[in-house]
């Protein structure tokens, strides 16, 4: 009897220790998530926040995929939820704003954004704050002595004044990665840069898209102005899409490959069928 009680107590103790340690172990396994957020404004186009999540697990940096991030607009003590996004397999997500008027600035006309992750069974919760002021880049192409330049002016929208001494990057859009024209261009006392575009840059129908970028500024975030201009070298697109070629799908087989082999195939099989009918002739005669 005594032995039975001891056994039961021993079993209960073991079970409790197991349950406690396992729940502690589960909690201990949780890793920290690092959030990154960038504010990007494309002039006369979209405004978005590029978000990414990563974590250091077992000594390795990994992208944290499929986690939900909530985006808030902080105005004083108020927290206004703007929406939610889920990271992709590379741990990235993009939250696009309708326009800047859909969020509110604080009393200093600074926009404050907070991105939060509530945590899950593998990762602890995390948050990231982001502040930026509104600025614009006005860019256009000017031609001086037959040389094409991109002229861009940076304007602080809060004070409606130009920004002097700001570094801007000038590049041309390409298929995989922009082609850098000049990286460090400081705005002058008029808040303007003037950068020459070298001739001979190829573009479809001679059009190229020149980008002027204020890159990842602490005060204004990333601002990009894109100017489309017919100042590139004309390239003739040599696409054979929808043509009958050797590399087309079967519906676009070259005609000679349909006609000649089929003539051969039907010709040979015609003779084979004739020979088989000869066997019937032999049977009947």
């Amino acid at each position: 009897m005594r032995n039975q009680i001891i056994t039961r107590h021993f079993f209960l103790v073991v079970l409790s220790v197991f349950l406690c340690t396992s729940s502690f172990a589960q909690k201990a396994k949780k890793d920290r998530v690092r959030l990154k957020a960038n504010y990007v404004k494309i002039m006369n186009a979209e405004i978005y926040f590029d978000l990414s999540t990563s974590a250091r697990v077992d000594g390795e940096n990994i992208d944290v995929s499929k986690v939900e991030l909530v985006i808030f607009n902080i105005v004083g003590d108020e927290q206004l939820e703007l929406g939610k996004v889920t990271t992709n397999m590379e741990g990235k997500a993009r939250f696009t704003l309708k326009d800047l008027s859909s969020i509110k600035p604080d009393s200093t006309n600074t926009y404050n954004i907070e991105i939060t992750f509530d945590g899950n069974e593998s990762f602890k919760g995390a948050s990231k704050s982001l502040s930026f002021k509104n600025a614009n880049i006005d860019a256009k192409i000017v031609t001086i002595d037959s040389i094409h330049y991109v002229k861009a002016t940076v304007v602080n929208k809060l004070t409606d004044s130009v920004i002097v001494g700001q570094l801007l990057k000038v590049q041309v859009q390409r298929l995989f990665k922009p082609l850098l024209i000049k990286e460090f261009n400081k705005t002058d006392e008029n808040g303007t840069v003037l950068v020459s575009i070298p001739p001979g840059i190829p573009g479809v129908d001679g059009n190229i898209a020149v980008e002027v970028v204020l890159n990842d500024s602490d005060e204004f975030g990333t601002i990009k102005a894109i100017v489309n201009a017919p100042i590139g070298t004309l390239i003739v697109e040599e696409s054979t899409f929808d043509e009958r070629t050797m590399w087309s799908p079967r519906s676009k087989t070259p005609l000679f490959l349909l006609i000649f082999p089929n003539l051969l195939i039907f010709g040979i099989w015609g003779i084979i069928i004739y020979l088989i009918t000869n066997l019937f002739k032999i049977t009947k005669s």
């Binding site: 050797m246 590399w247 079967r250 082999p261 003779i271 020979l275 000869n278 066997l279 032999i282 049977t283």
Partner: protein, 438 residues
């Protein structure tokens, strides 16, 4: 009046003797082992093979190309010798037709074995593009199979009718089957006219069809921009190689059949002498194309070509390469140039050597090229730089070769190896010529 009795006694199909039974059982065992290996391959996938991302065609494709080449024997001997009116061909044409049928059937089966998902075979027809040489192959193989079967069947009609009578009392069931296969053959003038016309037409048809088959097979390789394959020589190279493989196989089988069925009276030294001369001619033509294939890249010395050639001539594949060139071509040419070398037994050895050389030649065409892509092989296990077939691949390949031999064996068991009617006709013609001369 023709006397068929002796011919029928000598040439009518006979039951297997003790050796024949052992031979058939051995082939069956090899086939069963191959089938078991293939079932395992279907269940586990092609992971059981040693093929990889680089050597994506292995021994199966080499074996397929060998079968396609061997099937050319029907074209090169039966049709060409018929159209050039070489009367000595009679005792060997049936053997050639049977080898051709067995080889093309096995070529079709072998290509299916190479498919990772054989259940998707219909997709070849449903989604096939005429721009792809693979589709040309899918079309030409059944076409050539049909022609080869007709080439075998038409000349058999009178023989089936003779066998029907011959086995009437002794083996009535077999006689009944021969009767059905004879298609009411009576030897009437109308039947003879239709038969002769048909055989002539098939002989005309099988030559372009055979050339197309070999050329399409060559284009499977030469249309790919790969070292060792990207050559305009390939079509002619494959046709001449197929002639060598086909006649080599024919010589070996003719000798074995002559000995097994005691056909020395019908298949004489003259036939071996003629076949020997034919084989040496094809070997010389093939040697010429081999010189073209290897010498021009050596002269132009492109880096990739030189790497490939070095691997063949002095590298990993050198023993096989020299066996193929010396054993499969040079030695046969030297032996066959002498009359003594064209005697039956030396011819048999030469035939075996040529067949072995032809098989390994296909292996050398397929594998080393795949292991030398233009972009270097990087970031993969060391074993991926090499290829040698796995046990599964060997078992399946040996089984396909055994299956081809079993088809030949079974056909020899049930159809006359030497055309009875035609032999009788020729003998009668010979007799009447003698009488006229007297």
């Amino acid at each position: 009046m023709k006397n068929y009795d002796k011919l029928l006694n000598d040439l009518a199909p006979q039951k297997f003797g003790k050796k024949g039974v052992i031979w058939t059982i051995s082939l069956t065992v090899l086939i069963i082992l191959g089938i078991l290996a293939y079932i395992d391959q279907v269940i586990q996938g092609q992971v059981v093979t040693n093929m990889n991302d680089y050597a994506l065609w292995g021994v199966y494709i080499s074996n397929f190309v060998f079968f396609v080449a061997t099937s050319f024997v029907g074209t090169i001997t039966v049709a060409v010798l018929r159209l050039t009116k070489n009367a000595w061909r009679t005792p060997i044409v049936r053997i050639a037709e049977i080898i051709s049928v067995a080889a093309i059937i096995m070529a079709g089966l072998t290509i299916m074995i190479d498919m990772g998902r054989p259940d998707r075979i219909m997709n070849l027809f449903i989604h096939g593009r005429m721009q792809s040489p693979i589709i040309w192959d899918v079309i030409i193989i059944p076409t050539f199979m049909a022609i080869s079967l007709l080439l075998l069947y038409f000349p058999l009609l009178p023989d089936f009718a003779l066998l029907k009578k011959y086995f009437k009392d002794e083996k009535p069931t077999q006689s009944k089957w021969y009767g059905k296969l004879a298609l009411n053959w009576t030897g009437s003038d109308t039947q003879k006219a239709v038969q002769i016309k048909s055989i002539h037409l098939i002989a005309l048809l099988i030559i372009p069809a055979g050339f197309m088959l070999q050329t399409v097979d060559a284009w499977l390789f030469s249309t790919l921009f790969r070292v060792g394959w990207d050559s305009t020589n390939m079509g002619a190279y494959f046709i001449s190689g197929a002639a060598v493989a086909g006649i080599g196989a024919l010589v070996a089988v003719v000798y074995a059949v002559r000995r097994a069925y005691h056909l020395e009276e019908y298949i004489t030294q003259l036939h071996f002498d003629k076949l020997g001369k034919f084989l040496v001619l094809t070997c010389l033509v093939y040697l010429y194309f081999n010189i073209n294939e290897y010498l021009i890249p050596e002269f132009t010395s492109k880096k990739e070509e030189i790497t490939h050639l070095n691997v063949l001539v002095t590298g990993e594949y050198a023993p096989l390469f020299w066996f193929v060139i010396l054993g499969g071509l040079i030695v046969p040419i030297i032996v066959l140039l002498f009359k003594k070398g064209r005697k039956p037994f030396p011819m048999f050895l030469v035939g075996l050597l040529v067949v072995a050389g032809s098989w390994w030649k296909r292996y050398l065409i397929v594998t080393p090229t795949l292991l030398h892509p233009f972009l270097p092989i990087q970031g993969v296990p060391e074993s991926w730089h090499h290829y040698f077939p796995s046990i599964h691949e060997w078992l399946i390949t040996v089984a396909t070769l055994a299956m081809a031999l079993l088809i030949i064996t079974i056909l020899f068991r049930y159809v006359p190896i030497i055309p009875i009617q035609r032999t009788a006709d020729e003998r009668e013609e010979l007799e009447s010529n003698k009488n006229t001369e007297k």
